[in-house]
């Protein structure tokens, strides 16, 4: 009997020890995947989900669940490419495809990222305006937080602060629980179906918008640069895959719970943004409205930090500047200068009275769509280069899945862009 008890205890100790070791290694390697995926739910993303929920209730949940694996397959390629080549995506494009495609990718990335940053600042100012905070104070708060995050000169510190913001992004989960959504209806929404009202032009428009927010060009550049800066090795690839997989799950969880809130409280209400959703929810349940607004601010902040860093890394790689978060400002002055320049300029544009913010939002989509196919096709070609990738090159299965996803993304994002540029085309 004593021997049996000892055996159970020793087995329990063994499994706990293994679980502890597993968690320890994962905690060391995890970060880039979770951050990029959660940051993908930026201010624009939260707005798209909020509008989707208000318009179609829970009937499009299945589509958002499908977007998780799509994002995973694309981002997983950047992990392998970064870990094997130890190069960011911008540098890899210059090297493999020459200076024309290199400059095109770099300049389009920088332009798209800058415009996207403006939309993040618009989201953040709109979120805090709900609490009566003037836009200029919000911008100063954002600059201070974003500066504090990276000024430490340690990648580790930046990453842990970013993960903290990722946890805040999950605020939509308790917000949904506060309104007691029907989990039966939510589960029903996970089964593929057409919404009430059938297939309409607006339905297609929202589907395309949901896809457009799931994969953005900056994510490809950002995760590859993060993997390199963190020093992820080939032996760590499986851990990084797990990190990316968990991130993909979190991104879907956030999307589903945003829809859970707006699908229950605002179903049938015409809203255009997440900030409008928060304002409309305030009279119904002020706690939920507050959480939505906080979540929107957090989403914009996380998005802005990651997007600005993606541009700084890309410039640093190509121009040969020191470009690591592990370096102090005096060691990598241009890298940090560009990061702050991007932040200051984007924040200032939002403060300009009568700035053409609607036009900027429109151009974000157009600029992103010109870059997305190139970034994804280059990714696929690089991942199939045996000389570069060795045993980590794409398998036949990965090629079939990735090709399907990339073709689908190019078609859908092009369709979305055309419908944004020519809004009457769908009516």
């Amino acid at each position: 009997m004593r021997g049996l008890t000892m055996s159970i205890w020793s087995k329990l100790y063994y499994y706990l020890h293994r679980a502890g070791k597993f968690l320890k290694i994962f905690a060391m390697i995890a970060g880039p995947g979770i951050i990029v995926m959660v940051a993908d739910n930026d201010a624009g993303g939260i707005t798209t989900y909020a509008v989707t929920g208000a318009k179609y209730g829970y009937s499009l949940l299945w589509f958002l669940v499908l977007l998780g694996p799509i994002a995973y397959f694309i981002q997983e390629m950047t992990v392998r490419l970064g870990a094997v080549t130890k190069r960011g995506h911008a540098e890899a494009i210059f090297d493999a495809f020459g200076s024309f495609w290199g400059w095109f990718s770099l300049l389009d990335l920088v332009f798209t990222n800058f415009l996207t940053m403006i939309t993040e600042f618009i989201g953040m100012t709109a979120a805090l305006s709900i609490f009566g905070v003037p836009a200029w104070i919000t911008i100063i708060i954002c600059w201070s937080i974003m500066g504090f995050m990276i000024i430490q000169g340690r990648y580790w510190t930046w990453e842990k602060i970013a993960i903290l913001f990722c946890i805040v992004n999950l605020i939509y989960v308790p917000a949904a629980f506060l309104i007691h959504p029907s989990f039966k209806d939510m589960l029903g929404g996970i089964i593929p179906q057409l919404p009430r009202g059938g297939i309409t032009n607006y339905f297609f428009f929202l589907l395309m918008a949901d896809v457009g927010t799931t994969i953005a060009p900056w994510m490809v550049f950002f995760q590859q640069s993060t993997v390199v800066d963190k020093g992820v090795q080939e032996k760590d690839i499986n851990w990084s895959r797990l990190d990316t997989g968990i991130g993909a799950v979190l991104t879907v969880v956030v999307a589903v719970f945003v829809i859970a809130v707006t699908g229950k409280l605002l179903y049938g209400v015409d809203i255009q943004s997440a900030a409008q959703a928060a304002i409309a929810i305030m009279p119904i349940n002020k706690y939920v409205g507050t959480l939505i607004a906080i979540g929107l601010f957090d989403a914009g902040l996380l998005g802005a930090v990651c997007i600005s860093l993606a541009s700084s890394w890309a410039f640093g790689e190509v121009f040969g500047w020191a470009h690591s978060l592990n370096q102090k400002v005096r060691e990598a002055p241009w890298f940090y200068a560009y990061y702050f320049f991007d932040l200051l300029l984007a924040g200032t544009v939002v403060l300009i009275p009568n700035a053409p913010l609607v036009l900027i939002t429109l151009f974000v989509q157009v600029a992103a769509t010109t870059l997305l196919p190139a970034a994804l096709v280059f990714l696929l070609l690089l991942l199939n280069n045996e000389e570069l990738m060795g045993k980590f090159k794409n398998t036949l299965f990965e090629n079939i899945v990735d090709c399907g996803i990339i073709i689908g993304l190019i078609v859908i994002s092009t369709g979305y862009t055309i419908s944004v540029v020519f809004p009457n085309i769908l009516h």
Partner: protein
């Protein structure tokens, strides 16, 4: 005057940097397989298409005020 000189040397330094990057990446390192050639051709066509769409929109806005 020294400040102006310094600014000019910085700007020309940037141009030198760009020239150096262009020289460094003059020849694409990726082996141009038929698939790679086709992909690059597709991307060029796609880029031309997107520019055409944007120009059409620009003409609609500026000339026809639509």
């Amino acid at each position: 005057m020294p400040n102006v000189k310094q600014a000019f040397s910085r700007i020309f330094g940037l141009f030198d940097g760009i020239r150096e990057i262009n020289n460094r990446y003059k020849v694409p390192r990726l082996k141009m397989t038929p698939l790679a050639r086709f992909s690059l051709l597709f991307l060029r066509m796609y880029l031309i298409f997107m520019i055409a769409v944007l120009m059409y929109k620009f003409i609609l806005i500026t000339v026809f005020h639509q």
